[in-house]
Amino acid sequence: MLGSTNKIGKYYVYGSTLISAFIVFLIFTILLINSWDAISIIGLDLLSFKWNAATGEFGILPMLFGTFVVTFISLLIAVPLGIYTAIFTSEILPSKYRFVVKSLLELLAGIPSIIFGLIGIAFFSIWIQDIFNLQSGRTILTAGILLSIMILPTIITLTDDAFHHIPDKYRESAKGLGLYKFEIIKEILIPIAKPDLKAAILLAFGRALGETMAVMLVIGSIDKIPEPIYNWLSPGQTITSKLGREIAETSFGSVHFSAMIFMGLLLFILVLILTILSQNSLKSSNGRLYE
């Protein structure tokens, strides 16, 4: 009797672990199978510039371009802003306020992305429209700016943790040699925290690549690479916004559907690589998911 609960318990924990581990494979397999039509029928034409479902052209480059440019803009803004702010919270602000800062960041990180989308529509796109005198403020730049705000708490909180984990003895030794604070930060703290900072940026990169709702609402959803290519004040499309807008209206099993899933597969692989790189870069890998 006792032995059998012991055994059942063992089966239960083995089973649960198998399920947990299996989900990632299942998702990958499903995406791969369903993008197979696109890969075999469209083949290399997937890597072209024109997407037009009516004429059977499924070039994903506009979406790839949009995805990377939007992510690039967001990192360009959020990384320096976030790291400088984290330097303040960890190195300048007295530690008794740390709890308050952490709570505020958690609050900011907790705002659902659809609400960022709403704010983007109601404010950011209007501002961009007015400032740059455009017909529509729904542009690649708008999406990038909005996205930068969304990944900011991730960067701040992980960078703050990274600095916080460095023992005080390094700061004191450097201070004892007569260094100014910026020298201590630049030459001691940042090199020591580098793997963690790298992990933070990679994680934020992954989050930005996969963000859907907010981007979808403000990017304008045109499947084209802007002309000229650096004109980020024109509408664009990301993989996520394309999927979000179109997948529900695409008939299951069609080549169109398969081409959409192929983009999903690409996104999945990209984010997976970033996640794994980021985890490898973190020295203490446990507990970073929800803090």
Binding site: L108, I111, I115, Y180, L243
Partner: protein, 282 residues
């Protein structure tokens, strides 16, 4: 350049960054509260929506959101507990541990829209379950699984070995030690993880918008396989009629309600974590 000047420049840049971040924070919460409060009323919370959301309330949406997360939590909890126990108590092989961790972190990193299309293909089409709230719950449970698993794992794993050894010495077998000694203490970690996971899941739109929700004509579901309406998908629908001021007003109202729900779950998680920390310190 003069070192002192450089130092001051550095402080100035830090000051500017902090100022910008504070502005952003103030702006976001200011906007959500300022625009949301006028829309809030008892009627708004208890009435059903009408005119495509432009008038009426959001009672079905609140109900739908809560229904989705409750079932997501119920589906997730046993699997997360089992995985956490396995990781902490059964798994001795370092390589396997690393692989499982990598898989869990990968699952956590998967973009939400990917969960959505996965659910659309696998549950809605292949398993032919149609667009239904239960599919939404399953997908959300997958999304929060890593958070709950790791939180549970940490609290079980941090229980000192003495507890295991002294209860084994009393003649308890492994499973009894787990159920009677480890789980009661590890449970707070599971609940904390669940609350954090739920706080995130309740605001998710992308994973459920193709598979679990419909916009109009939704009532209380009478079976597992019917769509519901939720707060985030409702906000999405209203945001897309941004030219209609009444719709936008209700979108802000629903946003405020959603943010309040998120905050309630986050604060409960924090509360449980803090309380448990003080208990285990004693």
């Amino acid at each position: 350049m003069n070192r002192k000047l450089q130092n001051n420049l550095f402080y100035a840049s830090v000051g500017i960054a902090v100022f910008v971040c504070s502005l952003i924070l103030l702006f976001l919460f200011g906007i959500i509260i300022w625009n949301g409060l006028p829309a809030l009323s008892l009627d708004f919370l208890t009435n059903t929506s009408a005119e495509f959301g432009a008038s009426g309330g959001i009672v079905y949406q609140i109900f739908g959101s809560i229904l989705l997360i409750i079932f997501a939590a119920l589906i997730c909890l046993p699997i997360a507990l089992g995985t956490a126990i396995y990781k902490s108590e059964y798994l001795k092989n370092d390589t396997v541990h690393k692989i499982i961790n990598t898989l869990i972190y990968s699952l956590n990193g998967i973009p939400s829209v990917i969960f959505g299309i996965f659910g659309l293909i696998f549950f809605v089409n292949i398993l032919n379950m149609g667009i239904s709230w239960f599919v939404g719950s399953i997908i959300l449970s997958m999304m929060i699984l890593p958070t709950v698993t790791l939180s549970t794992y940490q609290s079980i794993n941090s229980i000192p070995t003495v507890y295991r050894e002294s209860s084994s010495a009393l003649g308890l077998n492994k499973w009894q030690v787990i159920v009677q000694v480890l789980l009661p203490q590890g449970f707070s970690g599971a609940i904390t993880g669940l609350l954090i996971g739920i706080a995130r899941a309740i605001g998710e739109t992308a994973p459920i918008m193709f598979i679990a929700t419909a916009f109009s004509g939704v009532e209380f579901p009478s079976s597992f396989l019917e769509p519901v309406s939720t707060l985030p998908t409702h906000i999405l629908a209203l945001a897309q009629q941004a030219t209609n001021p009444a719709a936008l007003q209700n979108a802000w109202g629903a946003s405020l309600v959603l943010v309040i729900l998120v905050i309630i779950f986050s604060i409960s998680a924090l509360f449980i974590r803090l309380r448990h920390q003080t208990i285990s310190k004693r």
